[in-house]
Subunit: 330 residues, 2 copies
């Protein structure tokens, strides 16, 4: 499998150097693998720190900036960052108002963020954590006890980041983050597997003419394999599963997310079917985001995330954000 890299061992460090060059508003500590808002710590504001394995870009490093994350810790590809990184990030961004860790529910991330919480608290930093576990495809998957954390991470980071930006105290930022996670559900589909630099060959086999329903963002097994379906059929399957689980009564935010190698042309076409499927089920859509946000290297496929919102969450969603991966103004 051909890749645009030097050697697998330096992929993450090389990417961090490239991020540093492209985004002068971020401070990128390549050696310690921490990406921080240049203006951190921001006086009087709670800080948000997230992180996880690399290979899901722009998540998380691309979501660092005003209105979203204060810092991110990238691990090796599909591998949790280590507690030292997280604690270092917390120390870099804490203004004395405390730090919220946003943790995707994978065993390695959960354990390491827990250790980092202890390390940071030993340094006198107040830390709260929120676990993101929105993926309804399966429970107790590879790498995960319970549900996996996927697309809702973007909603949690954006909305809790806006609350922090407004000056909400740690307890409130934490409870908003928890509310967003509890109000969110995701379902993903793979059309073709991804290839990690270290392995150099596809991480799983997917025969021609078949797709995997309920795929994880590391290629973990989903619910089932089927003969290839149309965009319309996939949208109906995913939306059915999501609406059955979430039972939204309020308007929702929609994320139609590409896994990495699926063209934006196809993602937009798929979005048309998702909107139709939601409309047919009486679900009201407040905002929709279409693009590659929570990716899985060069996997082909997509995921849909719904987040049930109230007026407060909507207001926070619409608040300005200024990061490499997500950006809008007043």
């Amino acid at each position: 499998m051909k890749m645009l890299i030097n050697v697998p061992e330096t992929v993450v460090a090389d990417a961090l150097r490239g991020m540093a060059a492209a985004h002068p508003h971020l401070t990128v500590d390549v050696e310690n693998r921490v990406i921080v808002r240049r203006d951190a710590p921001v006086e009087g504001k709670v800080a948000l720190v997230s992180g996880g394995g690399s290979g899901h870009e722009p998540l998380h490093g691309g979501f660092v900036g005003p209105g979203m994350l204060s810092a991110a810790c990238p691990g090796e590809v599909f591998t949790s960052p280590v507690p030292d990184q997280m604690a270092r990030a917390a120390a870099a961004v804490d203004s004395g108002q405390g730090v919220l860790f946003v943790v995707k529910n994978y065993t390695g991330d959960v354990l390491n963020f827990r250790m980092a919480e202890e390390l940071a608290e030993d340094e006198g930093i107040q830390v709260a954590s929120v676990l993101v576990d929105d993926d309804i495809a399966v429970t107790d998957s590879l790498f995960t006890a319970g549900r996996r954390g996927t697309g809702a991470t973007l909603f949690v980071e954006k909305i809790a980041g806006a609350a922090a930006d407004e000056g909400a105290p740690l307890e409130r930022v934490e409870s908003i983050a928890r509310q967003v996670n509890e109000s969110s559900r995701s379902f993903g589909v793979a059309l073709a597997p991804c290839t990690t630099p270290a392995k150099g060959s596809p991480t799983f086999d997917l025969p021609p003419g078949e797709l995997e329903l309920g795929i994880g963002i590391h290629g973990e097994p989903g619910r089932e394999r089927r003969a290839m379906m149309t965009s319309r059929e996939i949208a109906d399957f995913a939306v059915d599963a999501l609406v059955t689980d979430l039972r939204p009564d309020n308007p929702v935010l929609v994320l139609v997310n590409g896994m990495g190698a699926t063209p934006l042309l196809e993602l937009y076409g798929f979005n048309a079917e998702v909107q139709r499927a939601l409309g047919e089920r009486g679900v009201v859509v407040a905002h929709t985001l279409v693009g590659n946000y929570v990716t899985s290297l060069d996997m082909a496929g997509c995921s849909v995330t719904l987040c049930r919102i109230d007026e407060e969450l909507l207001r926070l969603w619409e608040a300005p954000v200024e990061t490499p991966g997500l950006r809008w103004g007043r």
Copy 2:
């Protein structure tokens, strides 16, 4: 080849419906295939219209909005839009100050935009055109007499769009667009071919272990094939070719563009090598953009575009822009 579509025949219409749902600030005429700023025509301002074959998203439809394009006309995949679309777009956005057509140098686009210019002028609309031909890889390629138009289209649309937004007259907007094109050079590389929905199989063969240097954004042949190279070697090759041709004395804008299926992680790593290669050749970088902007469906690979700027172009580049694909504030 599996795709997230219904049938090949509706791919573009489906995508337009999906765009309409995701971007309420755009008016999407699905039947006539025109994407327009919702606030068009903007009183007292020159309008910018572009278009071309679909499959390069976010180009062009994703660049419609304040500070960039007034309208875009998507053709079928890798196929020029028709003159009627372009004339309709011009009529929809003209405020009486005239319209600039931004045309990538492909024979079909050139002919059709020329006919559209006549149609629009028959309607009393003042039209000027600028041809984008930045790709130094080859001349007189498949579909093109002269050099191909690729990544510089983004620079032309953004910078000329900013000039129009400031109220510059048509003649000035046109001359700025021409200056940007003349100051820009691109070079692309393919690691794996793309597959069009209509064909359903790769548009060209690229053996395992080989890459194509100088690829076009429709998979047109490049300069040569070689055994797979590292990110560092590709960056040196591309930057050498670009700097030799452009001979930049002023600072440059850099676009490190993904062809569609190359992970952002790899693009950032490649950017690190591009920056190193530029630095070693004494080229000063003002701003860098890394991501999928001028794509070729699911092709794996990347391109580098340099644009030599002066203070005025830099100011226009930095001006606010608010489109689905490119967005920043003051």
